[in-house]
């Protein structure tokens, strides 16, 4: 099997990607997963993905390939899963966040997350957005920050008159934008989005996509999506993960990583080509 060769190809694919981008681009998160286990189950192996500042990086691949797992590694959400074990490194601004001395809580404050299901708290819209500010003990003008976050999330016009209504009273798409506002209110270094549109209808999806392109000007975004067109539309760089069933398990690994234009226009690997042409899902 030439699997090893393919995964090496990922590293090669990443290198030209970095060269092609503008000189000011810098890698915010340097993620290298050698092996990742849940208990005895090997979920992901040999995956290296750099996440570049003020750009959108997308993870695509068939379901069960571990793309969400990889994303959740980046802010140590996987620590909550029992039996989680990780070999490799994730460097945020040059510092390995998996060192024993690092507090995962602190990591999550710098690397925000938006989940698959919109998950606002059962409190007012205002309090939802102010949540992160309060967590961080923000001393300044909370109202101003909340307004700013809601504006950035494109939700301000819709909710400015009902800030004290429950966040759960909004529609699904609005809830998701509220969750984005909540995540960006503290201005995190990186924003992770785990299939943020999978629970939404096409109109709401479009809005979120537009929002992502807008947010890209100020934030670094990594997104997992099962929607190829979405990745094509919003992502600057795309990584394709595939699942390897040869050793009896279902272990995901990175097949190819590069500029979105190259991944979608001129994929180098056989699996990537098949996936993008829609030959399997």
């Amino acid at each position: 099997m030439s699997l090893a060769g393919e995964s090496n190809g990922a590293g090669v694919g990443a290198a030209p990607a970095r060269e092609k981008t503008s000189p000011e681009s810098e890698v915010v998160i340097d993620c290298h997963i050698r092996e990742l286990y849940y208990g005895t189950f090997k979920a992901v192996r040999d995956t290296t993905i750099p996440i570049v500042k003020k750009s959108i990086t997308a993870f695509i691949g068939p379901s069960g390939c571990g793309k969400s797992t990889v994303l959740r590694c980046l802010n140590r959400m996987n620590d909550l899963v029992r039996g989680f074990r990780f070999e490799g490194h994730v460097k945020y601004g040059g510092q390995d966040i998996y060192l024993p001395s690092v507090d995962p809580v602190a990591v999550r404050r710098y690397i925000g997350m938006v989940f698959q299901q919109p998950n606002p708290f059962a409190t007012s819209i205002f309090n939802n957005v102010a949540f992160g500010l309060r967590l961080n003990g923000y001393k300044g003008d909370v109202g101003e920050r909340v307004e700013q976050a809601l504006k950035q999330a494109g939700l301000w016009e819709e909710v400015k008159d009902k800030l004290h209504k429950s966040g759960l009273s909004l529609s699904g798409g609005q809830q998701q934008r509220l969750c984005i506002a909540r995540a960006i209110a503290t201005q995190p270094g990186v924003l992770l989005m785990d299939e943020p549109c999978s629970a939404l209808d096409p109109v709401a999806t479009r809005k979120i996509e537009e929002l992502m392109l807008e947010l890209k000007k100020r934030y670094t975004i990594a997104i997992v999506t099962h929607n190829l067109h979405q990745a094509q539309r919003v992502a600057d760089r795309t990584g394709f993960l595939y699942v390897d069933t040869t050793q009896g398990g279902r272990t995901g690994y990175l097949v190819e990583f590069g500029e979105s234009a190259q991944i979608f226009g001129d994929p180098q690997e056989k699996h990537t080509k098949e996936y993008i042409r829609g030959e399997f899902s």
Partner: protein
């Protein structure tokens, strides 16, 4: 989105910072507090049980097992025995359990098998009022109401049931009981007349008090029977009652049984209604109309005016009551736990 540029101007700085020293300390304190209180709960309960056991030990040494078989209670002669109370406790509990189970399970079936909907729609059809969207939620509403009413039975304090028993139940059943004694006095259950408080009024009130427990747990067990089993039976042409007896009750039997055991524990420990209704008489009789006594009623009636030596003996009686109820309750808890486990396994 023209405002984006303006937004970009303001407050570029991030708020993010690692947890402050204070937050870390608060986190540790709170977690320790939760852990500590969990220990407090366990140790507290162990302490309570141990305390009751230890308080009974001196009298246990002095009176030994003869205490359990003795039938007199006379502080003046220093002669104590609680066989009549043990008998009364078990007899009243078992009788009330029979009545409570019959009615409780019937109510659970009534509440879980969709009778209300039929009644409501049947009644509406009489008035030619069915097919109105307004009625859609009516059966559900009524079912909730009925369930809440049955739960209210459990909310009424037992001392109020005692009061009600003295002034309503006893006068109401007395003529019937005395007639039964007159006509069928040869039958052991009716061998005495009801002169006021007695076993039967106590049992009736007790069964009302344990009924909500049985109904609530049985209803949960009945509704958690997988619909596919029900459908299978109906699909084979079984009538509703054939389905209930052949499929639903057997499947839910463990849950129902767990509820009955819990109710049994409650009946054993119930104090006030019995203290007010059972008659506080130290005798062993199978007659339903005879006054009797139970362990809990003995404690309630004797404790407040007990002399120090008598208190020690009462502690022994409390220990016996604790032993009986603990055994029954733990059994019930284990059964319920196993039921929920096996149900989780089925899903």
């Amino acid at each position: 989105m023209s405002t984006t540029a303006d937004i970009l101007e303001t407050a570029e700085t991030t708020v993010c910072q690692p947890p402050s020293r204070w937050q870390v300390i608060a986190d540790r304190t709170f977690r320790t507090a939760c852990h500590t209180f969990a220990w407090v709960t366990v140790i507290g309960i162990v302490f309570i049980v141990a305390r009751i056991i230890l308080a009974g030990v001196p009298a246990m040494r002095e009176y030994g097992p003869g205490f359990l078989t003795g039938t007199t209670w006379d502080p003046n002669k220093d002669a104590y025995g609680i066989l009549p109370e043990i008998w009364g406790t078990l007899y009243s509990s078992i009788l009330s359990l029979i009545i409570g189970t019959a009615f409780g399970v019937a109510a659970a079936i009534f509440l879980s098998e969709g009778y209300l909907g039929e009644f409501v729609f049947g009644a509406l059809r009489v008035f030619n009022l069915h097919f109105h969207p307004f009625w859609t939620h009516l059966p559900q509403r009524l079912e909730d109401l009925l369930r809440n009413l049955i739960e209210l039975l459990a909310a009424i304090p037992s001392v109020v049931y005692g009061l009600w028993g003295i002034f309503v139940v006893v006068p109401a059943i007395r003529p019937v009981c005395n007639w039964l004694h007159l006509k069928m006095g040869w039958f052991a259950l009716f061998s005495t007349d009801l002169s006021g408080p007695g076993m039967l009024p106590a049992v009736l009130v007790l069964s009302i008090m344990i009924l909500p427990t049985i109904t609530a747990i049985s209803r949960d067990a009945l509704t958690s029977v997988p619909p596919k089993l029900r459908m299978a039976a109906y699909g084979l042409g079984a009538t509703r009652w054939e389905t209930i007896f052949a499929v639903i009750l057997p499947t839910a039997s463990r849950g129902v049984f767990g509820g009955v055991v819990l109710a049994f524990g409650r009946a054993l420990g119930e104090t006030m209604a019995l203290a007010m209704l059972v008659g506080n008489s130290n005798r062993i009789s199978v007659s339903l109309f005879s006054p009797a006594n139970t362990l809990a009623a003995l404690l309630a009636n004797t404790f407040p005016e007990a002399r120090p030596n008598e208190v020690a003996v009462l502690m022994y009686a409390a220990l016996v009551l604790l032993a009986i109820t603990l055994i029954v309750n733990i059994l019930g808890a284990v059964i319920l736990q196993q039921t929920s486990k096996s149900q989780q396994g089925a899903h």
